[in-house]
């Protein structure tokens, strides 16, 4: 198994949390994993990206045109980080309308659940349902359950499940 995933968003959107979920899921599924994250000033509302490489890799960074999957928590990041995707790569995008890859209005769904911050897990659930991720949705879900802080756990699982519900095989 070799899969390269970019997770793109804006500082404060929870890109790092999704990165951790995906990395832990890889470990649970028995794969080696390498990630690279954005820390520092960009986290104050700037554009941020995580690279996740599952399988036998050495470099923590993904080259342009090599990513199998892109999770775009901010639709305006498509022109910034879209070039990481392979031509046949799949983009899951938090966007209200069609036209941007596999789009889902994750922000609206998260807002309806009570906190827009969980749009990251709505989008992850949505992508998990597609079957194109390296592992099954149940692995990701159990990691979300395992690493969420107690007072956040229920909402996080709800968000993930809601994303799953909206996903398509």
């Amino acid at each position: 198994m070799r899969q390269q995933i970019v997770i793109s968003g804006t500082g404060g959107q929870g890109v790092l949390f999704v990165t951790r979920v995906v990395a832990e899921a890889a470990l649970r599924d028995g794969h080696p994993v390498l990630t690279s994250e954005t820390h520092g000033m960009a986290m104050r509302g700037g554009t941020v990206i995580s690279h996740v490489k599952i399988g036998d890799f050495r470099s923590p960074l993904i080259r342009r045109g090599q990513a199998d999957i892109g999770l775009f928590l901010a639709r305006e990041n498509l022109p910034v980080h879209g070039a990481y995707l392979k031509p046949e790569g799949r983009a899951f995008v938090n966007a209200p309308g069609a036209g941007d890859g596999d789009a889902l209005d994750a922000a609206a769904i998260a807002g309806a659940l009570g906190n827009i911050v969980v749009l990251n897990l709505v989008l992850l659930g949505f992508a998990a349902r597609s079957g194109s991720l390296f592992c099954g949705a149940h692995v990701l879900r159990s990691v979300v359950e395992g690493i969420s802080p107690a007072r956040q756990r229920e909402l996080n699982l709800e968000a993930f499940d809601e994303g799953l519900r909206h996903g398509k095989k």
Binding site: T10, G11, G12, T19, R20, A23, E24, L27, P32, V33, L34, T35, S36, E37, T38, H39, G40, M41, A42, M43, R44, G45, G46, T47, F57, R58, S59, P60, L61, I62, R63, R64, G65, E76, N77, P79, V80, H81, G82, A83, G111, I116
Partner: protein, 603 residues
């Protein structure tokens, strides 16, 4: 051993604990900030008691840990690369005097740079200081190298630099975690004036000993570069790489199916470069490419005019060596067709102060009060005051106070009016390097306003406490060091505190400070802008939330977007009117004072 997903910085922290490190000190700075929390966590998890501190600056951290090494214990200090500049003085001398217990200097470099004021190479600094430096290529390797580096430090009684880069520090990987060694060492400082005092008379001998140590390290088989592909016979082109550039190179060569077309060497210890390796490479290979970040440290030590790299122009001389760039360089080196040109990526969104950030209110008031002012500032979240046109300089930690003084003296000697000068510095930066600067400015008769942006934390790097909080790294209580008390002790005679959320009052204090600065007997006027960082939810919950609403009086003039730049105020594309993003707005209410049309009102 148990596999855990660890960030590079956590792997380094784990390595320190597993290697029996007893004293660890650090000052926060990207990309090194997560090392201390990891040391703290793992020392707790493995019941390995340590002294762990967020020091007031890197020099204090360095000297504290170094003295612990003099007692025979293992000690380490961690910082970002420019932190080592602050600790340069003890660093360079520590090489001459050597160490007793293993002593590691973790200096995290930031090629790019992503979050730093330079992209300097700490391996070069290690060479300048004449100490060995190791360069891990992955989080796993970083953890493994810590124990080996301690052993190296003890074998040769020499400080050893561990130099990860951002892509190691902020990478995560599955890393095996084991049990800490139990060294059981007791502090035992042995007096040795010729060494620990080392007046100039003793230094030539110490310098000779240091050179001999470096010769021995350069011949140590444990740290010889490793050949990772090819046959080593010299018939193929040769690639020499270190750090994460090695990891990029290995993977690119593998993807291109070219791993066996080259002899690829990984350098683990870039300085002093292994002596026999230099001879082998130079005598055996006709085509040599060196890939390293960020300066040509290995390349220059090869002393081979034909080696290709940063000095020859085959590798970009500045910026991060991303795997895309490494691929371009390797393709050219191997005469492979170049990758099809890729469209340039759109620029991303720039960072901004958070909605409700007290710094925004302070900056807005400063700029409104002194439209012709000069605004030296410093390093922290508040550097983002540049987006509001409220800072004019940002140099290095603590520089802003000296700059305020320098601007004053340069203007004042011309005899004309001195522009209002408002210096902004954060509380952590003030503790770090602001205190000597303030003493100097006051004593030399400089006149300016110093606004201490006191949000009670080191916000940019993750909210580490400062000495005024009275909370130590491990959560234990320490005596709180009062900032106003320090200010007065530095000789400041005008000192007022004000919450910048009350922007009218804040502006009045600024104007009063300006009168003091210009009046008879004026000097440095200090205004403490006091409001906690609103990032912690507990702070946001504790403060009143003003429901903000934009009326139809909004003319779409964009003043609140361009000059106030609150991310919670957005312009509606259709109506051109401003609307409030309810998810981001925390109800600080500062924007009520900002709208020229009075269209932002309390709902």
């Amino acid at each position: 051993m148990e596999q855990r997903i660890l960030m590079g910085n956590e792997a380094i922290g784990r390595g320190l604990v597993e290697s029996g490190c007893s004293v660890f000190a650090s000052y926060p700075g990207t990309p090194a900030s997560e090392i201390l929390p990891a040391v703290l966590r793992f020392s707790g998890e493995t019941a390995s008691p340590m002294h762990i501190e967020w020091s007031v600056n890197e020099k204090a951290a360095f000297e504290t840990a170094l003295a612990a090494s003099y007692t025979g214990k293992r000690a380490a200090v961690a910082m970002k690369q420019v932190g080592l500049n602050v600790a340069a003085d003890p660093f360079t001398r520590a090489a001459y005097l050597g160490v007793v217990g293993g002593f590691l200097v973790v200096a995290a470099d930031d090629p790019g740079p992503h979050s730093s004021q330079t992209e300097q190479d700490s391996r070069f600094f290690a060479q300048f200081a004449k100490v060995p430096v190791v360069d891990p290529a992955s989080p796993h390797e970083a953890k493994e190298m810590i124990g080996r580096a301690f052993a190296l430090s003890e074998k040769y009684s020499i400080p050893v630099v561990v130099r990860p880069t951002t892509r190691i520090c902020h990478a995560r990987q599955d890393v095996p975690c084991g049990e800490p060694v139990r060294l059981g060492r007791k502090a035992d400082f042995r007096k040795d004036p010729a060494r620990w005092i080392a007046t100039p008379a003793f230094l030539p001998k110490l310098h000779r000993t240091l050179n001999e140590k470096l010769d021995a390290v350069a011949a140590d088989p444990d740290w010889a570069p490793r050949r990772m592909s090819g046959d080593g016979l010299g018939g193929r082109p040769c690639v020499v790489a270190s750090g994460v550039a090695f990891s990029h190179a290995f993977e690119v060569l593998e993807d291109l199916g070219c791993l066996d077309r080259v002899d690829l060497f990984q350098v683990l210890l870039p300085h002093p470069l292994h002596r026999a390796f230099i001879e082998e490479i130079n005598s055996r290979y006709g085509r040599i490419l060196v890939l390293e970040e960020t300066y040509p440290v290995i390349e220059l030590q090869l002393r081979n005019g034909k080696a290709l790299g940063r000095t020859s122009g085959h590798v970009p001389r500045e910026g991060e060596l991303t795997p895309d760039i490494v691929e371009d360089v390797l393709r050219r080196f191997l005469d492979l067709p170049p990758v099809a040109a890729k469209a340039a990526a759109a620029p991303g969104r720039r960072p901004t102060l958070c909605a409700g950030c007290p710094h925004r209110a302070a900056f807005y008031a400063i700029r409104e009060a002194f439209p012709q002012g000069i605004f030296p500032s410093d390093i922290g979240c508040y550097t983002l005051g540049m987006n509001l046109g409220a800072i004019d300089t940002c140099h290095v930690m603590g520089a802003c106070i000296n700059q305020g003084a320098g601007f004053y003296h340069a203007y004042a000697q011309d005899g004309g009016p001195v522009p209002p000068t408002v210096v902004t510095i954060g509380d952590s930066t003030f503790f770090h390097a602001g205190i000597p600067a303030l003493v100097n400015a006051v004593f030399q008769g400089a006149r300016f306003i110093l606004v201490l942006l006191d949000n009670g934390t080191t916000a940019m790097t993750g909210g580490q406490a400062t000495p005024q909080n009275g909370v130590r790294a491990d959560g234990g209580a320490g005596p709180a060091v009062s900032i106003p008390g320090l200010m007065r002790a530095c000789g400041v005679n005008f000192l007022q505190e004000c919450d910048p959320y009350d922007m009218d009052a804040f502006r009045r204090v600024l104007e009063e400070a300006d009168r003091y600065v210009r009046g008879p007997g004026g000097g440095v006027a200090v205004v403490v802008s006091k409001h906690p960082c609103i990032l912690p939810a507990v702070v946001r919950k504790a403060q009143a939330a003003v429901p903000v609403f934009v009326t139809e009086d909004c003319t779409g003039c964009r003043h609140c977007i361009e000059d106030f730049e609150c991310p919670a105020l957005l312009q509606d594309e259709e109506t051109e009117r401003i609307r409030v993003d309810r998810d981001l707005c925390i109800g600080c209410g500062v924007c009520l004072k900002v709208c020229p049309a009075g269209a932002i009102v309390e709902a």
